[in-house]
C-alpha cells in the first residue's frame, strides 16, 4: 500500500471484524445473510463461510477510521453514507434494510477496539499511511549506519546523543498540539529561516520531549525569535549567555516540570528536554552554531538546556508571569538571555532587612562590581529565604523596592580606576548616584527545594534596545 492513497470501499454493505472480538463472533452468522463485503483484521479464516478480505496491513481500517469492530458501513457510489459500531439491532436493521435481522440476539452489545487504533500500532500506521502530511526532507540511513552516529555526523547534535526523528515519532509529537504541522511558528535567526510546527516537532523529538511538551517548546521558540529578545545578538555575543526559560502556570505541574529540589539541575525530563529542544531549533533551523555565529568566549552549561518552572503553589510572592501582566491561570514561558546560576548563601539572617542586605551585596557584583545599568538579572529566591521575607510581610514589590534602594551606588565607587579596577563609568559621574539595575531589571522567581537557606542569581546580557529584553509568551495547545 503506497502512502496517502485511501483504498475505496465497494458499494453496498461493508463490515469490518476481528475474530478476537466476542461481538464480532456473535454477529458473524448474519454476515452471509446481508451480503456484506467483510474485512477481517486478525484472522483471514474468520468469519467461517464468508469470503472475507484480510485487512492484513490495516490499510482499509486506518484510512476509513475504523475505531471499533464490528463496524457496519453502507456505501453508495463509493461514498460512505451511514455507519454503526458494535451491535445495535435497530441500527443494523435500518442500515441493512433487513427486517427482523438478529431478532434472537440481544438488543445491544458494545464492540471491541479496532486493531488500527491499538496504541502499539497507531503511530506506525499513521507514519505508513499518513506520513505524506510531513514536508521535511527525508534522510535515508543505510543498513550499516548507526542512527545515533549518523545524527552526530550530520551536525544535528548539541554534543549529546539525539533521538532519531522518525516519521512515527514526529507524528506522535504532533499530537501534542492542535496547530497544523505547516503553520509557521517564527523566523529563526541567524539564517532567518521560517520554522514550521513540524520542524519544531522534529527537533523536540531529537531533544527527547513528550508530545505534551511541544506547546511549551513552540511558545519558547516564538519568544526567542522576537526582535526584543534578539537571539541573533545572544548568539553572536562573546558573553556566556543563552536562552533561560522560566515557565509559569498550572500546565507546568501537568507536564511534570520541576520547580522544587534541584530546580536548576539535572534529572527532570520536561525541564531538560523543553530547554534543549529550543536550542536545537536555534542550532538546526536557524543555523546558530558555536564557532560560527555563536561566538561565546566561554559559554555556559545552560546553553545545552536551561528551563525551569516557578514554584507557585506555596510562593509568598506574586508569580513572575502575573507580575508581567498574565492571568494566574495562564501557562506562559518567559525567556531571558542568561548565564549560569550562582548561589547566594545566607544562613544567619533572621530578618528581612538582613537578608535583603545580603542579596543586594551579591547582586551588586553581577558581572563586575564596577558596571551598572547594563545588565538585568533573574533572582531565584529559595523557599527558606522566601519564608524570611514572608514572615516580615514583604511581598514581591516590597522586596524589589528594598533591593533597588540598597543598590544605589555612589559614582565615586564606580568611576574608572576606583577600587583599583580600570573598568567603570566616566569620571564626570563621580558625584552622581547610579542604580545597579534599571527599573524592572531584577526578575524575581520563587523556586528551589524546601530545605536550604540559599537563593540564586542568573546574570543577563546587555539589556535594552541594542541587547536583549525578556519576553513572555502564552502557551497554547
Amino acid at each position: 500500500m503506497s502512502r496517502g492513497t485511501a483504498p475505496l470501499l465497494p458499494d453496498g454493505l461493508v463490515v469490518v471484524v476481528k475474530r478476537e472480538c466476542e461481538t464480532c463472533r456473535m454477529v458473524a452468522p448474519l454476515l452471509a445473510e446481508i451480503g456484506a463485503t467483510v474485512y477481517t483484521q486478525d484472522d483471514p479464516a474468520f468469519p467461517e463461510g464468508v469470503p472475507a478480505i484480510h485487512d492484513e496491513e490495516l490499510a482499509v481500517s486506518w484510512h476509513h477510521e475504523i475505531e471499533t469492530v464490528p463496524t457496519l458501513i453502507r456505501v453508495v457510489g463509493g461514498v460512505e453514507v451511514e455507519r454503526t459500531v458494535g451491535w445495535a439491532r435497530a441500527d443494523w436493521q435500518r442500515i441493512t434494510g433487513v427486517t427482523g435481522l438478529g431478532a434472537d440476539l440481544p438488543v445491544m452489545r458494545p464492540g471491541c477496539g479496532s486493531m488500527s487504533v491499538d496504541p502499539d500500532l497507531e503511530h506506525h500506521l499513521a507514519a505508513r499511511f499518513g506520513g505524506s502530511a510531513l514536508h521535511s526532507r527525508r534522510i535515508e540511513l543505510a543498513d550499516l549506519d548507526d542512527d545515533i552516529e549518523a545524527m552526530f555526523d550530520r551536525g544535528f547534535s548539541d554534543g549529546l546523543p539525539v533521538v532519531p526523528p522518525t516519521e512515527e515519532r514526529v507524528l506522535r509529537m504532533l499530537t501534542g498540539t492542535t496547530r497544523s504541522p505547516q503553520d509557521v511558528v517564527a523566523v529563526v535567526p541567524p539564517d532567518l529561516v521560517e520554522v514550521t510546527v513540524e520542524k519544531v516537532a522534529v527537533n523536540a523529538v531529537m531533544a527527547g520531549c513528550l508530545p505534551e511538551h511541544l506547546p511549551w517548546v513552540i511558545a519558547a521558540v516564538e519568544a526567542v525569535c522576537t526582535d526584543e529578545f534578539n537571539i541573533h545578538g545572544v548568539l553572536a555575543t562573546t558573553m556566556p549567555v543563552g536562552p533561560v526559560l522560566i515557565c509559569n502556570g498550572p500546565g507546568t505541574r501537568a507536564v511534570g516540570m520541576n520547580s522544587g529540589v534541584n530546580v536548576l539541575g539535572q534529572g527532570n525530563r520536561a525541564n531538560l528536554t523543553i530547554g534543549r529542544a529550543v536550542q536545537l531549533v536555534v542550532r538546526n533551523v536557524g543555523g546558530g552554531r558555536p564557532g560560527e555565529v555563536d561566538r561565546a568566549a566561554h559559554g555556559n552549561p545552560g546553553k545545552l538546556s536551561f528551563c525551569f518552572a516557578e514554584r507557585e503553589q506555596d510562593s509568598p510572592f506574586t508569580s513572575l508571569a502575573v507580575s508581567r501582566g498574565f492571568a494566574p491561570s495562564a501557562d506562559t514561558v518567559t525567556v531571558f538571555a542568561g548565564e549560569g546560576p550562582r548561589c547566594i548563601v545566607d544562613q544567619k539572617a533572621r530578618t528581612a532587612e538582613e537578608l535583603a542586605n545580603a542579596f543586594a551585596a551579591c547582586l551588586r557584583t553581577l558581572h563586575s562590581p564596577k558596571l551598572v545599568l547594563a545588565f538585568d538579572a533573574v533572582l531565584v529566591v529559595g523557599p527558606e529565604h522566601a519564608r524570611v521575607f514572608a514572615e516580615a510581610g514583604w511581598d514581591r514589590d516590597r522586596l524589589l523596592a528594598e533591593l533597588h534602594a540598597r543598590l544605589q551606588i555612589p559614582g565615586s565607587e564606580l568611576v574608572h580606576g576606583a577600587m583599583g579596577i580600570a573598568d567603570g563609568v566616566p569620571e564626570h559621574l563621580r558625584d552622581a548616584t547610579l542604580p545597579k539595575f534599571r527599573d524592572g531589571g531584577i526578575l524575581l522567581v520563587h523556586a528551589g527545594g524546601g530545605a536550604g537557606l540559599f537563593s540564586a542569581i542568573i546574570g543577563g546580557w546587555a539589556n535594552g534596545a541594542t541587547g536583549s529584553h525578556p519576553v513572555t509568551k502564552e502557551v497554547h495547545r
Binding site: L134, S136, R137, R138, I139, E140, L141, A142, D143, D145, D147, A150, M151, F156, P164, P165, T166, E167, V170, V188, P189, P190, D191, L192, V193, V195, K199, V202, N203, M206, D227, N230, H232, G233, A236, T237, L280, N284, V285, G286, G287, A462, A465, T466, G467
Partner: protein, 92 residues
C-alpha cells in the same frame, strides 16, 4: 533495515559562490565602509578612508544601528546599489 529520518534543519541549500575578481585598481572605485557601531570601529575606518582616498577611490560611510543585530535590509540595499566594493569593520 533502511530507516527514514526527517531532516531537522532549515533545509537551505547554499550554493557555492565564486568571489568576484579582484579589481585591477582602486582608482575610481566606490568603496562603502560599514561601521557596525562597535567602540573604536570609527578609528579604524577613518584610517582606511584616508588610505583608500589616497589611492583614488571614492569612499562612502555607512553605519548599522547596533552591532548586535543584522544590518537592516534597506541599509544593505543602499550599499549594494551605491558601491562597487564594501569593507565591514567587524569588531573592536
Amino acid at each position: 533495515m533502511t530507516r527514514i529520518l526527517l531532516d531537522p534543519t532549515g533545509e537551505r541549500s547554499v550554493p557555492h559562490r565564486e568571489p568576484l575578481p579582484r579589481p585591477a585598481s582602486l582608482h575610481g572605485q566606490v568603496i562603502g565602509l560599514l561601521d557596525i557601531s562597535k567602540p573604536r570601529g570609527d578609528v579604524f575606518l577613518n584610517r582606511l578612508e584616508e588610505l583608500l582616498t589616497g589611492a583614488g577611490a571614492v569612499v562612502r560611510r555607512y553605519r548599522k544601528p547596533t552591532f548586535t543585530k543584522p544590518a537592516p535590509v534597506d541599509l544593505r540595499h543602499e550599499i549594494a546599489t551605491q558601491c562597487t566594493l564594501v569593507i565591514e569593520a567587524l569588531a573592536d
